[in-house]
Symmetry: C2
Subunit: 399 residues, 2 copies
């Protein structure tokens, strides 16, 4: 392949988000329209991010996508929908201004790298599609706002629409059939509550058994309790959660986060056949958080679980010694405490840990089942970067 | 103590029942009035039963209760309610007929023995209170029908009202505040569907963590999904379950049984803090039943779980080789297959078992976690017996 003279590149990084009011269930599978609104915390890209370069050139043979060095299928309806929508927006620009290069007619080459394991229940598809959409939008110099792009990213992976923003992000379910009102918006920026921390207990890096897409549709089709979650439970919680975030009311944030995680997994269990994402290690993490809160006399830590056994524990930095310190005392020997943030956590002393009278079974289950921890916090949305994963000849490179 | 001249005795055995539409939640804790109706299968007393002798005499110092050789507190409101109600019915008889001995004025001595571990999630309190109420009713020669007695037994332990009948038994929630319409009735006798079998996988004989009473009230108070179960889900299932039993439609019986067990445990998970009765072994049992049904191409086995990790697998005797045979092939070395019924089960051959391609993890979890099996089936209600657990001197005896 000769060096293309018409190579265009744009690169971005995009964050993972972990919902505190869960997305589970689609009212349209083709458009990824959800049965209910959801709300998430965007996590810092220092710890978890997808880095994506979008490039286009007439010298490319066809659209392509490389993730962590592996060629991915781009023929799927979700990726195609994102390409199609973004090209249409670019076309409109090109039609208005003949001086604009005809990027929309060129094949796209997308190269992505995650700094964390794919499909381990760490919301990799959210960061992935957010980065893909943001990078192509930058490549095409689209004037679209994050909320406008969220409509497109949503079609790639529902929760991706929330990864186009930093801080605290809501995804409004919307009511329109074409999904034009099913959009993400910022509830509060990361700077509003920068002390929000997340400790991820990685229970399993295996690929999960039941995919989210399959699982959520089984719940919609078979759970008799699920309609109550959609109609009554989530709408009330969304309002209360937005208020808790605006007021930086951690106890209410924690209470709603834990209730909603449990509600989501309850609906999974009420599905036929039942879906289990939580295992005995997950349950031990729940008991650990309950023990920490009982000791504190209020809710200073909140667990939440996505479609897998990994536990995300939210807490405010002011309680780091009581929350992360507890987990470091129990799990100090697992990987993940060696970063700057993890190194700064003082493990709780043996005396104080002993005084909490944690169930010995909980400690054993955590020590046997947690493979690593990731200590992170609330962070920013996608960031344009100059480090490209495609060189000037159009060849993928590894940084 | 001298030999009492006024000793009166009556003895009965009473069965365990395992619900297929679950009782979970009280609308009155003092009267044990449920939030929803429920339906159970009474299990054979050959395998699981409480044997109780009720005795009374002026020579006794006070009311007493001995269970498996241990003195029990009789001051609790539930036991007191049963004593009070039964004494009131006896008083009425004595008032009408002066020739009747004044049994209602004598202290009661109740002696009970279970042939299975207490409080291991095997519905021991149901059999216990059913036997207590039936034995005292017999001692007092009350003309009350089982349905009339169910109103009293319910006040001892909710599900005890269903153990006053054999076969397939419904407990109508009722609407009256005083509970007079919250009664059990026979849906069909054991002889209607005598081929109904139950294989109990005893996962743990430890006392359970959260008692049913505490747990169900936490669910009523905190689960946002629970009102849907009470108002919509259970009423529909009760009707369909009665029909399935009348028609001996095992596939529908199984489908409803599994859905309702999952619905109940989903509401436990939706409770704050969440209640977990199922563990990784329970989940392996669910996967095993799903595998058996998948192989059969229809529902020939149904799992259900009460407030504990033990699994009860219902099946029709015609499928014994495919259901019990599978479990005997996998769990042949655990205790419980040595009875006449268990001995008759042919373990599935290695080839056939291998052809079912069960997940190896499921087999490992079952082998590590199941401590014993109890192979039983549908059975009769309480039976009057002449073997007394109190001798002619009023002393407890061990048979």
């Amino acid at each position: 392949m000769s060096t293309p003279t018409d190579l265009h590149r744009a690169s971005t990084t995009a964050p993972v988000n972990i919902a505190v009011i869960k997305y589970w269930g689609k009212r349209s599978t083709t458009l990824n329209l959800p049965t209910n609104s959801s709300l998430s915390v965007t996590l810092s890209q220092s710890d978890l991010r997808t880095h994506t370069t979008a490039s286009c050139s007439h010298s490319f043979n066809s659209d392509s996508l490389l993730l962590n060095g592996s060629v991915q299928d781009v023929a799927g309806a979700r990726t195609q929908a994102c390409f199609r929508e973004l090209r249409a927006l670019r076309s409109a620009i090109e039609e208005k201004d003949a001086a604009e290069p005809k990027l929309s007619a060129m094949p796209l080459q997308i190269v992505s790298e995650n700094n964390f394991p794919t499909a381990a229940g760490l919301a990799s598809s959210a960061a992935g599609f957010a980065a893909l959409v943001r990078a192509i939008a930058d490549l095409y110099r689209l004037p679209a706002s994050p909320t406008e792009l969220s409509r497109i990213a949503r079609q790639g992976s529902g929760s991706a629409c929330r990864s186009l923003f930093g801080g605290f992000v809501a995804w409004e379910a919307g009511v329109e059939e074409d999904g034009r009102d099913s959009l993400a918006y910022e509830v509060a920026p990361a700077s509003h509550w920068p002390s929000m921390r997340a400790l991820i207990l990685v229970v399993s890096a295996e690929k999960k058994g039941v995919s989210s897409t399959t699982g959520m549709q089984a719940t919609v089709a078979t759970s008799a309790l699920f309609p109550m979650r959609v109609k009554d439970v989530v709408p009330q919680r969304m309002k209360r959660m937005e208020k808790a975030i605006h007021e930086k009311d951690f106890a209410t944030f924690a209470d709603l986060t834990m209730r909603d995680s449990n509600s989501f997994h309850a609906c999974c269990l009420d599905t036929t056949p039942p879906i289990f994402y939580l295992n005995d290690v997950s349950r031990a993490a729940i008991r650990a958080v309950e023990g920490i809160n009982a000791k504190a006399g209020k809710e200073i830590a909140a667990y939440t679980f996505d479609a897998g056994p990994n536990c995300v524990v939210y807490y405010d930095e002011e309680n780091e010694a009581l929350v992360a310190g507890w987990f470091k005392a129990v799990l100090g020997s697992v990987e993940g405490w060696d970063g700057a943030r993890g190194g700064a956590v003082a493990p709780m002393g043996e005396g104080e840990l002993g005084a909490m009278k944690s169930d010995e079974k909980v400690l054993v289950a955590l020590r046997e089942g947690v493979g690593r921890v990731i200590l992170t916090g609330v962070g920013e949305g996608p960031i344009s970067v100059q480090e490209h994963l495609v060189d000037e000849k159009g060849q993928p490179v590894k940084l």
